[in-house]
């Protein structure tokens, strides 16, 4: 009997040696005359355990990790193909507390399936949302998404259903669905995980969006820093096309939908939706003035729904299980689940999909297990490079869009970067301004000039030159950027700076 062994092919798993582990397992099995079926799955998102090797047993999938290529021989010696005990045994994968305590809806297939196996996708609830959507009138699909309470997971948290309805209400011969896969925020990898680990779920979400608003063409804009994600997703498009899910006649419905993957070119600003549209049109990624909204005048001047990967990949489960099912997760106006991404100096780094409502502390301690270095957590940056730094006193904030806004912070795309007590918060503040200067599109003055002046003023403060006066100047500059910038880059880059000043003034040589 041939045993099935899973070794992830996700780039994070590969980055710590999953490729060599897979090769060694095949070699060693051949040497011992053992038969096995090797499946290259996506990652479960338990990255501190990567490379995570799983073996299918009658009781369920058993996990071993983190496995080094040098461990493979001893795994065979321990009869791991039959679930034998080994120093790296983790028990049943689904029982690992980090995974067991999650509510995986959007990410329920991640790490379970071979990402490019259509039959595997179909066997794990794939295409069920699309099937329901095909039986509904377009307005009813939009209503489902509205009723689900799904808000944009890219960072802005704008209700997805309202975007869809705005676009659906415009009469036009050509509309577009654009997926923002320009996941530039540090501390985030949820989009990459979907693109590499469950690409058909994104295709299904985009197909449903196309049916809802009457769009026949879609683009996925993937950042150039994700070469593997681009390659895997391009293969997924080709397979879905060959299987009749994309093309002139989507799943026998008679409706067309063509999908294209496009590669970004290393510009953070292209994660801003209007800048992304400019880039797709082959231009400099400069932010557009809104209105007009992209839903009315978007890509190539046509009505366009533009949503993040996670938003679109959450749509199939909403259509399959119903708006109420999804809406019943969460708290307040934050409905459903959010994939949080533990990053930086954290003991157990990985993806945590949970209903809104748990506290930041639960996330950091119960899931993250504190810092990797074992030192106390001093600061946590949530929501990418434009997110505020939160001190320990704020860790009881609930993971909820409104609760974070009330604490002067934002959830953004769900990235959570942990820093221990060796961090220099003045240096982090300086980096926020430096990053804004490097990545500014240059269209508006507060962002283009303000960020460079911000670096200079912070340098004067840390050099001890007229500290108090320069602090006043820095706060005034931040006020100008927040209120005068065209988009969130210049408008929010001051948040990490101000939070560092407010919570850690001693790092700037200022009195608390």
């Amino acid at each position: 009997m041939s045993v099935t062994v899973f070794v992830p092919i996700d780039s994070a798993a590969l980055s710590v040696g999953a490729g060599a582990v897979a090769t060694r397992i095949v070699e060693e099995a051949a040497r011992r005359g053992l038969e096995l079926r090797l499946v290259r799955n996506g990652s479960r998102g338990l990255f501190w355990l990567e490379p995570l090797v799983e073996v299918a047993t009658p009781a369920g999938r058993l996990a071993y990790g983190p496995v080094d290529a040098a461990d493979v021989e001893s795994l065979f010696d321990a009869d791991f193909l039959l679930g034998g005990a080994h120093a790296l045994s983790l028990g049943l994968t689904e029982e690992i507390p980090f995974l067991k305590r999650q509510e995986r809806l959007t990410y329920r297939r991640i790490g379970l399936i071979d990402p490019l196996d259509l039959s595997d996708y179909a066997a794990h609830d794939g295409w069920q949302g699309l099937r329901h959507a095909l039986a509904l009138p377009p307005a009813a699909i939009v209503q489902e998404v509205l009723d689900s309470g799904l808000r944009g997971r890219g960072g802005a948290a704008f209700p997805a259903g309202i975007k869809w309805k705005t676009c659906a209400d415009v009469v036009a011969t050509q509309k577009y669905i654009v997926c923002n896969a320009d996941e530039g925020d540090s501390g985030t990898y949820a989009d990459r995980l979907t693109l590499e680990g469950d690409p058909f779920s994104l295709i299904e979400g985009m197909l449903i969006a196309g049916l809802a608003v009457g769009a026949s063409e879609g683009y996925v804009y993937i950042r150039s820093e994700y070469p593997r994600a681009f390659q895997v997703f391009s293969q997924a498009i080709a397979q879905a096309h060959a299987a009749g899910y994309l093309g002139a006649d989507v799943a026998g419905s008679g409706k067309p939908f063509r999908l294209h993957a496009r590669l970004g070119a290393g510009a953070y600003i292209c994660g801003e939706e209007t800048s992304l549209l400019e880039s797709l049109e082959g231009k400099r990624g400069q932010v557009r003035v809104k209105p007009p909204l992209p839903a009315i005048e978007g890509l190539f001047g046509q009505p366009t729904v533009i949503n993040n990967v996670v938003t679109l990949a959450s749509v199939p489960v909403i259509l399959a299980r119903g708006a109420a099912f999804y809406r019943d997760f969460g708290m307040g106006r934050s409905r459903g689940t959010i994939p949080l991404q533990l990053a930086g100096n954290v003991r157990r780094g990985g993806l945590v999909e949970k209903a809104f409502g748990l506290s930041l502390r639960e996330l950091l301690q119960d899931f993250g297990g504190g810092t990797a270095t074992g030192r106390p957590i001093r600061a946590v940056q949530v929501g990418g490079p434009l997110g505020a730094y939160l001190p320990e006193a704020d860790f009881d904030t609930a993971i909820d869009y409104e609760a974070f806004a009330a604490a002067g912070a934002m959830l953004g795309h769900g990235g959570v970067v942990v820093f221990d007590d060796s961090v220099d918060m003045a240096a982090q503040a300086r980096f926020a301004m430096e990053f804004c200067a490097v990545e500014s599109c240059g269209k508006c003055t507060p962002c283009r000039i303000g960020s460079t002046r911000g670096v200079e003023v912070i340098d004067r403060i840390t050099a001890g030159i007229e500290r108090e006066r320069n602090e006043v100047l820095l706060r005034d500059l931040c006020d100008t950027m927040v209120n005068g910038s065209l988009c969130a880059l210049g408008g929010m880059a001051p948040f990490p700076v101000l939070s560092a000043l407010d919570h850690y003034p001693e790092d700037f040589g200022l009195a608390r």
Partner: protein, 173 residues
């Protein structure tokens, strides 16, 4: 950041034009991409994938091929960090400079790489083996610090391991 060094050089007054190799690469890219909506980025990627850079001397050809102005093409090339104006070394190492990697010591990694190769970002080591570039997040934030070596992602990179990697790249012919 040393973005100035990454910007395309101005086209000289007596423009020698692209080399034959460059010309063929650009012609092929134009033929493959000209019908695409928003063709310029895919075209520039096609050129850089083949040559390793986008030759400034090819800007007029690209502009002509897509019916754009030279200013449009130059503006796009210079906007995006990804596009290079000159050939890189035999290997390209991109170091992540973003917050998650900072929290795990990327500054030390960066310092040791620059010191070891005796170059700054956007430059190539004297042997021509390694070009060093900054990246702002490689999406491997649970396994920081991360680098991209010729498009291959590596995680939990220590200064010692990076030095060994760089030495191995330098040693290759």
């Amino acid at each position: 950041m040393s973005s100035a060094s990454r910007k395309p050089a101005a086209i000289p007054l007596k423009d020698p034009g692209p080399t034959p190799v460059e010309r063929v690469a650009v012609e092929d890219a134009i033929a493959a991409c000209r019908e695409l909506p928003g063709a310029l980025l895919p075209l520039l990627h096609a050129v850089q994938d083949r040559l390793g850079y986008v030759p400034p001397q090819a800007v007029p050809m690209i502009a002509h091929g897509l019916n754009l102005s030279r200013a449009d093409v130059h503006g796009v090339i210079s906007f995006y960090h990804h596009f290079r104006a000159a050939p890189p070394g035999r290997h390209v190492v991109q170091l992540c400079r973003a917050e998650s990697c900072q929290a795990m010591g990327s500054a030390a990694l960066e310092a040791s790489a620059k010191h070891h190769l005796r170059i700054d970002y956007g430059q190539t080591s004297a042997s021509g083996a390694v070009t060093l570039e900054p990246a702002y997040c490689l999406g491997n934030c649970a396994l920081s610090p991360a680098i991209l070596l010729d498009g291959e992602l590596l995680g939990r990179v220590t200064p010692v391991r990076l030095t060994q990697l760089l030495d191995a790249l330098e040693a290759q012919a």
